[in-house]
């Protein structure tokens, strides 16, 4: 298989403009003849369904939540980037493009990233028009802040709830289209299979999570905006229902899965407190703007009250190692350094599993400088949240933080049109692999989701519809019946096992394997161990999982089991990808490949490519395809934040 990115050539500034003009349009009167399926209603899916509905297409939108307003985009706190240069501090589309390519450690496609930076300015205008209550200055203009180490203030925000407000904007637009009848909404409905007819994506099989009823839905094009696969780690900052099932099912049907080993571990999360922990909570990265990260210099101080540790016995290690960026180094670096400190026995907080996994994030200096009220103005809601969860008051004692899985840069491979290797299957938002390379910058996930949903997919999906002949309905029926039967068989098989272990217990075990071997630092031996162990765990799952009740009712165990079954396959592919990639880049750190100072060492000669995996058959090794990456504008260099 030859991967064709279809990325335009020529001057990068006009690539998207020229590409848009070259694409075919659908006449407004003809749009109602086309059916579009959108799976997932977060920023990408919600924005897309609303936009296509507004344009006159007939849209069916699906989400597993009880309302499209609850998609996990809602949990994003910090902000959304846009190259507006409202602060007159030297920002530009080109600078956002440059920062994103560099921040992604030179593993993203330049054409896609430039387009993302280009449409970022439209996103802010769109959201303001919808009534998103962004923070304002007293003069009435939009406020900005610098985020995640950016040298310019290009981040727009709505208190600590930016994702929520952007999602509500998209959701409200979607509601308007539902009322108008152009979008039919299916909440509490989970996609369990993709239907392919004559090589094209033409529909899905979905399960009504309340009645258990399976049904097929057919359309002219299918778009997956189903988010990332971070829950493969079991403990992550993702919502509990987030899964890889939609993308994994598409992968099994022929869509290549790109760069699965690129996962982002967010440095500022609340540490694990015990065995019953079900998820991890992220504290906005904006905290690093004013908080100082430290650990005790001596292991014997680690169990002490931090107030009893004098300044001279504290190691502000980020400020020490990275004097120019200090506490604002990129996420991957901040995370890895925290792990290093804890692995050296300098971690703080309670011991869980024999190790203290936490570092201090201290606001004492900020409180001295800004006053308690000043700190509360910036971070009040985060401090309250921290206290609710941990019982500690961060105004009085430093926060404890530790990295947690947060975002997955990998995803289904897509070309410049965001079309997967299955014709007619498009993929938007975190579900695709396209724009962040090996590491995503802060405040860029919201930007990408909305860029795909409002400004990219509406054009490329229309072009697909305009250039593709309508399929044969009779052939579709046979494929739909077969797909539905395969899902029924999978459910029947799960229900018939009657084993002894809950789906969660398998998920927890898988998560531990992935965290230990394919987490913040990876090596050959560990990855090989995981690749040997995961298939065994998969066999145990299929012979001893216990699911009570039937398929014809609201059955939470069955929902979980279906998702865990897919994670058990995806987890192995992640490890294979990490083993294949003999270099360190962004969120992928192979301990064999580091500089003398312990920084990631890329191997551009050997690995300047996108690794896209093709599903073989059950028990067979997947096949790797490579899309070479070229950098005409931003020349690869070693990232340095010293």
């Amino acid at each position: 298989m030859q991967l064709n990115s279809k990325a335009p050539t020529g001057p990068v500034e006009t690539r998207w403009e020229r590409h848009k003009f070259a694409m075919k349009l659908v006449n407004p009167a003809n749009r109602r003849k086309y059916n579009v399926i959108v799976v997932g209603t977060g920023l990408a899916g919600g924005a897309l369904a609303a936009t296509l509905g507004e344009q006159g297409y007939r849209v069916k939108a699906f989400c597993y939540q009880d309302s499209p307003r609850r998609a996990h985009s809602i949990a994003a706190q910090g902000g959304i980037n846009a190259a507006k240069n409202y602060q007159n501090d030297g920002d530009s589309i080109y600078r956002l493009f440059y920062d994103t390519v560099k921040g992604g450690d030179f593993r993203a496609r330049e054409s896609n990233v430039y387009r993302l930076a280009e449409v970022s300015v439209n996103i802010i205008d769109q959201c303001v028009a919808q009534g998103v209550p962004f923070a304002r200055e007293y003069g009435g203009n939009l406020a900005n802040r610098s985020f995640g180490g950016a040298q310019v203030s290009r981040t727009f925000y709505a208190r600590g709830q930016t994702g929520q407000q952007l999602l509500l904007g998209a959701y409200q637009s979607l509601c308007k289209q539902i009322d108008a009848g152009s979008v039919e909404m299916f909440p509490r409905t989970e996609m369990l299979e993709l239907v392919i007819v004559d090589g094209r994506a033409r529909g899905i099989v979905a399960r009504d999570l309340v009645t258990g009823k399976l049904s097929t839905h057919m359309a002219d094009v299918v778009v997956l905006c189903t988010g990332g696969y971070g829950n493969v780690f079991y403990l992550s900052t993702n919502a509990k229902g987030c899964s890889a099932t939609a993308t994994w099912r598409a992968h099994r049907k022929g869509a290549l899965f790109a760069n699965p080993c690129y996962t982002q571990i967010h440095p500022t999360c609340i540490p694990v407190s015990g065995e019953a922990q079900s998820k991890l909570t992220l504290m906005s990265e904006s905290l690093r703007n004013d908080g100082r990260v430290w650990v005790p210099k001596r292991p014997e101080d680690c169990s002490k009250d931090p107030a009893q540790i004098p300044e001279s016995d504290r190691d502000y290690y980020l400020e020490r190692i990275y004097p120019s960026f200090g506490n604002l180094v990129p996420r991957d670096i901040a995370s890895r350094r925290a792990k290093d400190m804890c692995d050296q026995g300098l971690g703080v907080g309670p011991e869980v599993g024999g190790q203290r996994r936490g570092v201090y994030l201290d606001f004492a200096d900020a409180i001295k400088r800004l006053g308690q009220a000043g700190v509360a103005e910036r971070y009040g809601n985060l401090f309250e949240m921290y206290e609710r969860i941990t019982g500690d008051d961060p105004y009085k004692t430093p926060m404890r933080i530790y990295p947690a899985t947060h975002y997955t840069m990998g995803g289904l491979w897509v070309d410049y049109n965001l079309e997967s290797t299955i014709p007619g299957l498009f993929v938007g938002g975190e579900a695709n692999f396209s724009d962040h390379g090996a590491n995503r910058l802060g405040a860029s996930a919201l930007m990408q989701g909305l860029a795909d949903g409002y400004f990219v997919l509406p054009y490329t999906v229309a072009n697909y519809l305009a250039t593709t002949p309508k399929g044969d309905a009779a052939a579709g029926e046979a494929a739909a019946t077969e797909a539905l039967a395969s899902v029924q068989a999978r459910i029947d098989r799960l229900l018939s096992i009657g084993g002894t272990r809950s789906p969660d217990s398998f998920h927890r075990e898988l998560g531990q394997i992935i965290w230990d071997n394919c987490g913040m630092a990876r090596d050959k031996a560990g990855l090989e161990r995981a690749i040997a162990r995961i298939p065994e765990l998969r066999r145990e799952f299929w012979s001893s999982v216990r699911i009570l009740g039937s398929g014809d009712e609201l059955n939470v165990s069955l929902e979980k089991a279906l998702r865990v079954a897919d994670f058990l396959e995806l987890g192995e592919l992640m490890c294979r990808d990490a083993l294949m990639r003999e270099e360190s880049c962004g969120g992928h750190f192979r301990t064999e490949h580091q500089t003398e100072e312990g920084e990631a060492q890329r191997n551009d000669d050997g690995f300047q490519f996108v690794g896209a995996w093709q599903y073989a058959a059950e028990g067979q090794e997947p096949v790797l395809h490579r899309e070479a990456l070229e950098f005409e504008y931003v020349k690869p260099s070693q990232r340095s934040y010293k």
Partner: protein, 260 residues
């Protein structure tokens, strides 16, 4: 780390048609650091081990923002801690030996689907009836073209913080959805962008709220006390004013949004 043993009385109901009842369970060795939902996870793992169906409850983000979770705990929506969703309620709020009664949201407009899971589709339909600003992708002016005074933006944000969990309805003796509707309408009505559709918005949303079978507001303010995001009842007063003004004009008549 402290642990505790608890006695739970949990509402079990197989589906919307079935008759429900409280069932007694024991939760043992629960960590004080566990969240309330993690405590229920632990009970469910025990139930699965014993071959009994686990308790169904809604939850998703578990960080207090998605609005999916919600149950009445000892008679209070989202439990004893102010400004806290069920998922962020931690067991250090309870003590060893406590007896805890756990029920679903009770409201005619929120039918029980199973155990603690209710159908809040009525909230979506209220928003569909006008809770939006029409803004076609591609046509808006520059984000700074219309200055919005900081005070107005902040107040709109206060209303927009609503997570749509339904605790306001569960806490209200009349099962009224006034706080939710007022928050949703208030957010948009406070902004300059929301003015062109303001009248049809309030009339549409209030009519839909009544059609869904929610009760009337009689100023108990239980909603504000239960609201995990602290939405103020002043927005109800604003909704009443906006509704009265819209009712005086013909422009407020509810029409479908049409096809674009």
């Amino acid at each position: 780390m402290k642990t505790m043993n608890l006695v739970l009385h949990v509402w079990r109901q197989k589906d919307a048609q079935a008759k429900g009842e409280f069932v007694r369970y024991e939760a043992k060795n629960v960590s004080e650091h566990s969240s309330f939902l993690e405590m229920l996870d632990q009970v469910n793992e025990d139930l699965i081990g014993k071959g009994q169906p686990p308790i169904a409850f809604d939850h998703d983000c578990r960080e207090g923002i998605c609005g999916t979770c919600g149950m009445v705990i000892n008679g209070r929506a989202h439990g004893p801690q102010q400004l806290t969703t069920t998922c962020q309620l931690h067991m250090r709020q309870f003590k060893d030996g406590d007896e805890i009664w756990i029920e679903p949201w009770r409201a005619k407009a929120f039918p029980v689907l199973r155990d603690l899971v209710v159908d809040r589709g009525a909230f979506d339909r209220i928003v569909q009836a006008g809770g939006y600003i029409s803004a076609r992708a591609g046509s808006p002016p520059d984000g700074n073209a219309i200055p919005v005074p900081k005070e107005d933006a902040d107040r709109a944000m206060d209303a927009a913080a609503c997570i749509g969990c339904g605790a306001c309805v569960a806490a209200c003796p009349n099962a009224s959805a006034m706080l939710f509707t007022a928050a949703k309408a208030g957010h948009l009505n406070l902004l300059p962008q929301g003015q062109p559709e303001k009248e049809r918005r309030v009339v549409g949303m209030v009519s839909q709220m009544e059609a869904e079978g929610f009760g009337h507001c009689t100023n108990h303010y239980e909603c504000m006390s239960a609201c995990p995001k602290g939405i103020d009842v002043e927005f109800i007063a604003k909704l009443n004013r906006d509704f009265a003004a819209a009712s005086l004009t013909a422009r407020g008549e509810r029409q479908s949004a049409g096809d674009g």
